[in-house]
């Protein structure tokens, strides 16, 4: 771990301004990911800005009938919130499918969105990784890639985003609220928040330097059956091989997003028009152009089969 300086932020605007003008600054909230990465010197911030004291830990109703979730709301609290459980069941289910009870007690809503990949080559600083050391290459390509992306990957990176929560946020059409260093707030649709790797897999989100997430807002509930199905090798405490977040209405229409298949939560709205025709038709569009490796080609039939089971469950 590299030595670093530390401060507690007093307001979101000040935190953002400080981050923008301080070389190597990072925000820290729950620390469940960043601290591990610092110990391994995968992340080497020179300065930590602790945002835990910023009172961004409320879940409030919005005038539009939705929910505004403070950036610092802990995953445990978000999953247990009665409004979330009633109106956004897919989110609650995705949250409890992730990590462990202890981690969820610490992990925050904004931090969850900003989790970094679990690619084992990203974690081994002896190995090249374009995410960790831009331009050094990708050891996962041609290497152990069972967990890796099958769609939207690039020649620079085939990593996946590990979050469950973010997949549910994507299917719920959440928006990310931020404050920028020069003052103004903005909202970023979740669809635009995470980037595909392209040639710059180290640039993972739409956030500009210093920009701080203050909340994630959910629109008015849309009803329907909310299902989150996470497929993994062991029953708990494992990252998804694939996951399906779905909201299915009585008439068979609905929304679907996938986890474990791409560098970001994977949703293609136009594919959802196929939902009444069944899982095969939806999957064909969702995963069109997929380029799996030999080791993760199973994710294609697995998505289709899992979605099939989810649609059957939604029918009841």
């Amino acid at each position: 771990m590299k030595s670093f300086t530390y401060e507690r932020a007093r307001s979101p605007a000040e935190a953002a301004a400080t981050a923008a003008r301080t070389e190597g600054a990072r925000f820290i909230a729950g620390g469940t990911n960043l601290l591990d990465l610092m110990k391994l010197e995968i992340e080497t911030p020179a300065h930590l800005i602790d945002v835990n004291g910023l009172s961004l830990d409320k879940i409030e109703s919005t005038p539009e009938g939705g929910l505004r979730i403070g950036a610092l709301v802990r995953n445990t609290d978000l999953a247990a919130d009665p409004r979330v459980r009633r109106d956004y069941g897919v989110l609650s289910r995705a949250l409890v499918a992730g990590a462990s009870g202890q981690l969820r007690n610490k992990a925050t809503t904004a931090g969850n969105l900003l989790q970094r990949t679990r690619c084992p080559y990203f974690y081994d600083t002896n190995q090249p990784c374009n995410k960790r050391r831009p331009g050094s290459g990708c050891a996962a390509i041609g290497g152990f890639s069972r967990q890796h992306a099958v769609v939207g990957a690039s020649e620079a990176c085939i990593a996946t985003h590990p979050s469950d929560m973010a997949v549910a946020m994507r299917v719920l059409d959440a928006t990310v609220e931020t404050v920028r260093p020069d003052g103004p707030a903005r909202t970023i649709p979740i669809a635009d928040f995470h980037h595909l790797p392209g040639n710059t897999p180290d640039v993972e989100t739409a956030l500009s330097p210093g920009e701080l997430i203050t909340a994630v807002t959910l629109p008015k509930p849309v009803g329907g059956a909310h299902i989150y199905r996470k497929v993994r090798d062991r029953a708990s405490y494992a990252f998804a091989l694939v996951s399906v977040a779905a909201i299915v209405q009585r008439d068979g229409t609905g929304r679907v997003a996938l986890g474990g298949v791409a560098h970001k939560p994977w949703r293609i709205e136009s594919a959802e028009t196929q939902l009444p025709r069944g899982a095969r038709a939806v999957t064909a569009q969702l995963l069109s152009g997929a380029k799996p490796t030999r080791e993760n080609a199973f994710k294609l039939p697995l998505v289709e089969r899992t979605l099939g089971a989810v649609l059957a469950e939604a029918k009841g």
Partner: protein, 734 residues
């Protein structure tokens, strides 16, 4: 004490303390965090410096140069140990690659430097500043690719090749035949406590508080590596947070701590970093196994052959996956072959039931497949080919063998008769249900073991032996043995373990520790009883030791009186004769598993497990049960998820942390039942006990595999059985 003839009645048979399901006596220390593990010996070491290990970034080649300049200048850094500045080092008898590598690199994450600093954080930061230039060399990393270069290598307990009768002819002539190949992956011990040591020098004398299963082996290899007399080395390993064979040997943490402490003139503590645990230490090596079985139509095995290929560093051992096949089933024509190829991965070595654990993973699927070919119930097929004699040497009976009884009892308890033998027929909602079984088999080894027993004036009996407790319950069964022998309650016994100043024991390994070490304590107690009897004027043959008294006829004397002021001490051990040559000593069991396989995703979840074991006298049913259910858990890991994934280009285990190397979590393990059959084995020791700790894992994975087959009709022969291996053959989603 020599143990050369079958045990007769002795004080252990009273079963006043032995055989009782007592909670472990070290339990309160552990549950309150007071058990002093090696890295936390704040009680004996003050002001230690901290070491951080630098592992090689390449798998094979050499170090062209190391630049220590920046690291040495980093805050708090006291010294950096490398092969270049460590002085001449020998190599221990029991490690294959050097524990401090360089300039030659033998495997990935081989230790090449130790950065010693005032604090752990400073050592870690310093380690990141060590700059190494390597020259890479080509290496062999793919077992499948090099398998045919394998040379005959004798595994533990047998020659490289065995042959009885005419296997080839009998197999060719058999009306029903199986010829199948199975693979098992490299596996990690993945114990909770990493290898960890504190080293302190006092003049030329070294003390190592370390986490080690085999104290005397450790002393020998420390002395040899440092080229100092054994008498100058003390090892203390009072508590071990899991070993599973990974801590049988001296490893880099202890050696580097010793080297570091010598240089900085102050105690140094080193815990191997978790990401190094998988490539720096040993692991269970991958195997490729070909099994051929021929049988008559009525199900009698006429030919059985088992060939194994594994890989290791030059001079490494072969896994020995064929060993149980020499003993488990009858059949007049038999062969085994063990081949070892050179690989440049980290050293393969013992992990819980080395040989049999891997071998049973393959053999017991093959038996299931063969039973199906024959149209026989898998249990009936096994019982049909049960044997009470060593199939290779018919003059040699098994000392005890209740394999059939294990299966019969287990079948009854598990409801085997309700199993539908046709695969894919049973559903419970989204789950396809299957039931599988497999034999459990592991040889019983006996190892010389000594102890010292002291009686003091307050009637306290103190046992000292260098035996270790690696979570197994050694403290407790040794206390029970001494209590039974001396006729005192358990609370009157103090057990001190894991110190090389104590008499040399069997140590913990190969499931020999429980029986052997208690037999050693038995021997010392026999001697102490004689001394007590003599002191108190009893005829030792007549004296009865009970309730804190020594009694004969009408005379009763408190035991403590024999101690007087000076106390009374006896030291002895057990040495085993050739009963294990005259009789084949093995332990047996039957595993039963019910799985559910998700019809859509092919996720496999274990729903029920039962093991029935016959393993001699069970000294403590509670701690023994813990061993068996722990082993069953490890078997589920082997079946469904554990695999060290080899990057065959770069030559290392990629998933080298506990996030990526998955072992079962609580949610993976259902209610486990286990049942011991009544058994005493007078050929094994005066305790009449045998090992159980490794028996419990042998066969579990194949019982799971057979249950998956029963659930789905998909036969997977390559472990672990992950959903991607089933998916193609699963039924369409409704």
């Amino acid at each position: 004490m020599k143990f050369e003839t079958a045990a007769t009645t002795n004080p252990i048979d009273q079963l006043k303390v032995i055989g009782k399901p007592l909670s472990r006596i070290d339990g309160p220390l552990k549950t309150t965090g007071m058990a002093p593990y090696a890295y936390e010996r704040h009680d004996v070491v003050s002001n230690p410096a901290y070491g951080y290990v630098v592992g090689s970034a390449i798998a094979k080649g050499r170090i062209a140069s190391i630049d220590l300049g920046k690291a040495k200048a980093a805050p708090g850094v006291l010294a950096i140990i490398t092969a270049e500045n460590a002085g001449k080092l020998g190599k221990g008898d029991r490690n294959t690659a050097k524990l401090l590598g360089g300039p030659e690199i033998e495997h990935y994450h081989q230790a090449i430097a130790l950065v010693v600093a005032d604090s752990f954080e400073q050592a870690r930061a310093g380690a990141e500043l060590v700059h190494v230039d390597y020259v890479k060399a080509e290496g062999a990393f793919d077992l499948e690719a090099v398998k045919d270069t394998g040379k005959p290598r004798a595994p533990f307990g047998g020659p490289a090749d065995t042959a009885v009768g005419d296997f080839d002819r009998a197999f060719a002539a058999a009306p029903v035949r199986l010829d199948a190949t199975y693979t098992t992956p490299d596996q990690a011990h993945a114990m909770m406590e990493p290898h960890a040591s504190i080293a302190a020098w006092n003049g030329d004398k070294l003390t190592l508080w370390t986490s080690n299963q085999m104290i005397a082996w450790g002393v020998g290899d420390v002395a040899k590596t440092l080229d100092i007399p054994k008498e100058n080395v003390r090892l203390v390993s009072s508590f071990v947070g899991g070993g599973f064979g990974g801590k049988l040997f001296l490893r880099s943490d202890a050696l580097l701590a010793a080297l570091g402490a010598r240089v900085v003139g102050r105690p140094v503590k080193v815990a191997l970093q978790r990401p190094l645990m998988f490539n720096n230490t040993t692991h269970r090596p991958a195997t490729i196994q070909r099994i051929r079985i021929g049988a008559s139509r009525d199900g009698k095995i006429t030919a059985i052959g088992h060939e194994e290929w594994s890989g290791n560093l030059p001079d490494g051992r072969a896994e020995g996956a064929v060993s149980q096949t020499r003993l488990l089933y009858a059949g007049a024509n038999r062969m085994t072959a063990t081949r070892l190829a050179a690989l440049d991965l980290a050293e393969g070595n013992a992990m819980r039931a080395p040989g049999e654990a891997s071998g049973m993973m393959a053999l017991e699927i093959a038996i299931d497949e063969m039973a199906e070919k024959l149209g026989l119930d898998p249990i009936e097929f096994r019982i049909l080919n049960d044997t009470q004699i060593d199939p290779e040497r018919p003059t040699r009976p098994f000392s005890q063998r209740q394999l059939t009884e294990c299966f019969r009892t287990g079948a009854e308890r598990f409801g085997w008769s309700k199993r539908d033998p046709r695969p894919g027929r049973v559903r419970d909602g989204r789950w396809m249900i299957g039931i599988g079984t497999a034999a459990a088999f592991r040889n019983n080894l006996v190892v010389k073991s000594a102890a010292r027993v002291r009686l003091d004036r307050s009637g306290i009996v103190t046992v000292e032996t260098d035996m270790t407790d690696i979570g197994t319950g050694s403290y407790t069964i040794i206390a029970q043995t001494a209590a039974e022998m001396m006729g005192v309650p358990l609370e009157k016994v103090v057990v001190r373990l894991g110190d090389s100043t104590f008499p040399v024991s069997s140590g913990s390994g190969g499931q020999f520790g429980g029986n052997s070490s208690t037999a050693g304590v038995y021997a010392a107690c026999v001697k102490l009883r004689e001394a007590v009897a003599q002191k108190l004027g009893f005829n030792s043959a007549e004296a009865e030791f009970a309730d804190g008294e020594v009694r004969a006829g009408n005379r009763r004397v408190p035991l403590a009186e024999a101690a007087a002021d000076a106390g009374l001490t006896a030291e002895d051990g057990v040495e085993f004769g050739d009963l294990d040559k005259k009789y084949q000593q093995s332990t047996f069991g039957a595993h039963f598993v019910e799985v559910g396989v998700d019809a859509a995703t092919a996720e496999i979840r274990v729903r029920r497990m039962l093991a029935v074991c016959a393993a001699g006298r069970i000294l403590n049913p509670k701690t023994a049960r813990s061993q068996v259910i722990g082993a069953m858990t490890m078997g589920v890991g082997a079946a469904l998820m554990e695999e060290l994934v080899v990057d065959k280009r770069k030559g290392f285990f990629v998933n080298h942390d506990l996030a990526a190397y998955e072992v079962p979590v609580h949610a993976d393990i259902p209610r486990q039942e286990m049942f011991f059959l009544d058994e005493t084995d007078p050929m094994s020791s005066p305790m009449k006990a045998k090992g159980v700790a490794e028996l419990g894992i042998c066969g579990v994975a194949s019982a799971v595999a057979n249950a998956v087959y029963n659930a789905t009709g998909v036969r997977v022969r390559d472990y672990p059985i992950t959903l991607d291996k089933l998916l193609e053959q699963m039924p369409d989603v409704g």
